[in-house]
């Protein structure tokens, strides 16, 4: 965190390259989260870029009451929500494949286990994108990004209790959708 604040100071003092370092530090983490939140690789990239741009432009308004990363995520989710309102397009299976960066798999060249694994992953990603946004975002922040409840609450500006209940609800919903997948994975 201190390192981030130092880079922010340098940026504000007129060295944009310092902000470039912040971008490089967080871009993959943010992108990975956004791919699951938006369900689309291209959208995730655009949202990540816009979020960094907005963070740069509004850097003076960042009062360091939270980590830079938290603030950045908050911006990113706002950007994603705004884009979604504009777009309102449903996520097709093709887009999902694109979202996850998976090229069509040539099953002939793969062992059976690998095929099954890819298929299960695809089902899991699809199930995530089918959750309501309020559940999906909390779930992704916890399970994909590894945020603690407090951090999630900070990013989403929610009480910790709400985060806890939404996360539990999201897990139950996902468990329902993925019963078969989980059953397979439980097999010894």
């Amino acid at each position: 965190v201190n390192d981030d604040f130092r880079l922010i100071d340098e940026t504000l003092q007129g060295r944009p390259a310092a902000f470039g370092l912040l971008v490089e530090k967080y871009q993959d983490r943010l992108y990975n989260t956004l791919v699951h939140v938006t369900g689309h690789a291209e959208d995730a990239r655009d949202v990540a870029q816009d979020a960094f741009v907005q963070a740069f432009v509004r850097l003076e308004t960042f009062h360091r009451g939270s980590a830079f990363f938290t603030w950045l995520y908050r911006i990113a989710f706002n950007v994603a929500a705004t884009r979604k309102r504009r777009k309102r397009s449903s996520v097709s299976m093709e887009q999902l494949r694109e979202a996850t960066g998976q090229e069509p798999v040539d099953h002939a060249d793969q062992p059976g286990d690998q095929i099954e694994l890819e298929e299960r992953r695809r089902q899991v990603r699809q199930a995530i994108t089918q959750l309501d946004e309020e559940y999906r975002v909390v779930l992704v922040l916890r399970e994909i990004d590894g945020c603690c409840y407090e951090r999630i609450a900070e990013i989403l500006d929610l009480p910790v209790g709400t985060v806890r209940s939404r996360l539990h609800r999201a897990r139950l919903l996902l468990r329902e959708q993925l019963k078969q997948v989980l059953a397979v994975e439980d097999r010894p």
Binding site: T11, L12, Q13, G14, R15, P16, A17, A18, F19, G20, L21, V23, E24, Q27, D28, Y31, N32, V35, A41, A44, R45, A48, Q49, F52, V53, F56, V57, L59, E60, R86, T100, G101, R120, R121, V124, R125, I128, L139, R142, E143, I144, G146, C148, Y149, R164, S165, L167, H168, R169, R171, L172, L173, L174, R175, E176, L178, V181, L182, E185, D186
Partner: protein, 513 residues
């Protein structure tokens, strides 16, 4: 679904997010309730599955693109991304705030300093009138020397990490110099002159017709009326231009900072640059203006630019916004390519589909403005798919019928000082390709088409269109064959909304940025 309130603690138990008291409570539950144990087991499996998903990574760093876009937004504000109008007060406030930010002021001050330095060291000082002239072709300030993909805009070339030593403050100055199209010795100095010419009236409350240098005379007034009548959006933008100018004046904190120190985009938005123009200069300019009007109002030929936009970009009216911002549009309308104008194309198989809906913008602009507009549009990935140009009327000495120009504003437009054209249409090189071949083709059909208020679609040749990222230099080269970069011409922009299927087959998809 085991959505029992007590079970909610199981999730938090799994995540280690319980208080000591809750922990005890859950352990008691698990000891006594097999269903709770099953739920916990399921949640654990689910969590493990989710956490085992492979990490998605970006190809390459975003930093350069981010810094480039951020610079644009800090200096000029982002291109509106939706159709909601910005309330005037909000626009004014956000602009004022933007230009009073310390970092922006630092940028602007240094830009001013560089501009002043350059102008002071300019060995060949230009007459005052030229300063005004330059101020009136402001778009040149933001036109990059050549179109670049999103990540390679000139102004931020100095900014990536490996050039970290280059200060943030220097970026705009770099931008101003680097953004000068076709840099020639001394040209950058000339572009900077409006800043030097800035008079001290920082506190001047009213930006007296800042973006309408012609308002004083009747013709200018007519022009303004015509523009307002033509498009409420244009009027809105015009008003915004004034607000912008006001913002830039009032937000400059120091008398040492000339009020003309605006971002390139700001200059483009308030084309007066008139902040820098003294009364003497204005009077001088008016004389030139009258002489110009006798000479020629808007030059020939009329050029048609076919822009193939993604459906989304077309719906968002991105091109329209850019054209309007540059105050280029005199008239716009929706149209449908009719069999008559499509069939008129000798190369009918390549012509746009009959019945295709297009949006048409009649504009008056300099080629430099056109280049800046297209470059700006092309900087947004996936929006401008392809673009082509073809002359419509007035080529090869053909003089268009006045009635055919009905879509353009009638009032004479202020011209820059007449200077001898370095080329004439008769000297067109033979190597201009298909588009150039049209130069010699009489375009009488088109002239009548325009006179009949039919959109000039017959000369559109999608085959000549190239992907936007490749074609803008070629397009500008073609335009340069017929025009002088700094003179004003009439352009007809035709916006085709293209998806993959509708885009002409010969048009390559632009490569991903």
């Amino acid at each position: 679904m085991n959505d029992v309130p007590e079970y909610e603690l199981l999730s938090a138990y799994l995540d280690g997010e319980l208080t000591a008291e809750e922990q005890v409570q859950v352990e008691q539950l698990l000891a006594s309730d097999p269903v709770a144990r099953q739920v916990l087991s399921d949640l654990r499996a689910l969590s493990s599955t989710l956490q085992s998903l492979p990490q998605q990574r970006l190809n390459g760093s975003l930093s350069e693109a981010v810094l480039q876009q951020a610079e644009r937004e800090m200096l000029a504000g982002p291109l509106p991304k939706d159709d909601r109008p910005v309330p005037e007060a909000t626009a004014w406030w956000s602009i004022a705030r933007r230009f009073t930010r310390p970092r922006t002021l630092v940028w602007l001050s240094l830009t001013a300093a560089v501009a002043i330095l350059l102008s002071v060291t300019d060995p060949a000082r230009r007459p005052e009138i030229e300063r005004k002239e330059l101020a009136q072709a402001p778009v040149k300030m933001e036109a990059p020397p050549e179109p670049r993909p999103r990540a390679e805009a000139p102004s931020m070339r100095a900014l990536p990490a490996e050039r970290g030593s280059i200060s943030r403050e220097s970026a705009p100055a770099d931008a101003m110099v680097a953004a000068t199209p076709k840099p020639q010795p001394g040209q950058a100095l000339k572009k900077s002159k409006p800043a030097e010419a800035a008079p001290p009236p920082i506190a001047a409350p009213a930006p007296v017709q800042l973006d309408e240098p012609m308002l004083a005379d009747k013709a200018g007034k007519e022009k303004k009326d015509a523009r307002r009548g033509a498009s409420p959006q244009a009027a809105e933008q015009e008003k915004k231009g004034e607000l912008l100018a006001r913002a830039s004046v009032s937000s400059v904190p120091s008398a040492q900072t000339p009020p003309t120190v605006e971002s390139p985009r700001m200059l483009a938005k308030s084309p007066s640059g008139g902040l820098a123009v003294s009364k003497a200069e204005e009077s001088n300019a008016e004389n030139h203006e009258q002489a110009d009007r006798k000479d020629q109002v808007v030059r020939q030929p009329v050029l048609q630019i076919d822009c193939y936009l993604s459906v989304e970009a077309a719906q968002r009216q991105d091109l329209e916004r850019l054209l309007t911002r540059q105050k280029m549009v005199t008239q716009s309308r929706n149209a449908r390519l009719t069999p008559s104008n499509v069939a008129a194309d000798r190369d009918a198989e390549n012509s746009p589909a009959s019945g295709e809906k297009v949006r048409v913008f009649y504009c008056e602009a300099t080629p430099a403005q056109v280049e800046a507009t297209l470059t700006s549009l092309a900087a947004r990935p996936g929006e401008l798919l392809a673009v082509s140009v073809s002359p419509t009327t007035g080529v090869g000495g053909q003089v268009p019928d006045d009635s055919s120009m009905s879509q353009f504003r009638q009032a004479p437009r202020r011209e820059t000082a007449a200077k001898p054209s370095s080329r004439s249409v008769g000297e067109l090189p033979a190597s201009a390709g298909k588009t150039a071949a049209k130069e010699s083709a009489p375009s009488a059909t088109l002239g009548s088409a325009m006179a009949l208020n039919v959109i000039p679609g017959e000369l559109a040749s999608p085959k000549a269109a190239l992907p936007a990222n490749k074609s803008i230099p070629k397009l500008m080269a073609d335009i340069a064959k017929w025009t002088d970069r700094d003179q004003t011409y009439r352009f007809v922009f035709i916006v085709h909304a293209s998806d993959a299927a509708a885009t002409p087959s010969s048009v390559e998809k632009p490569s991903a940025p």
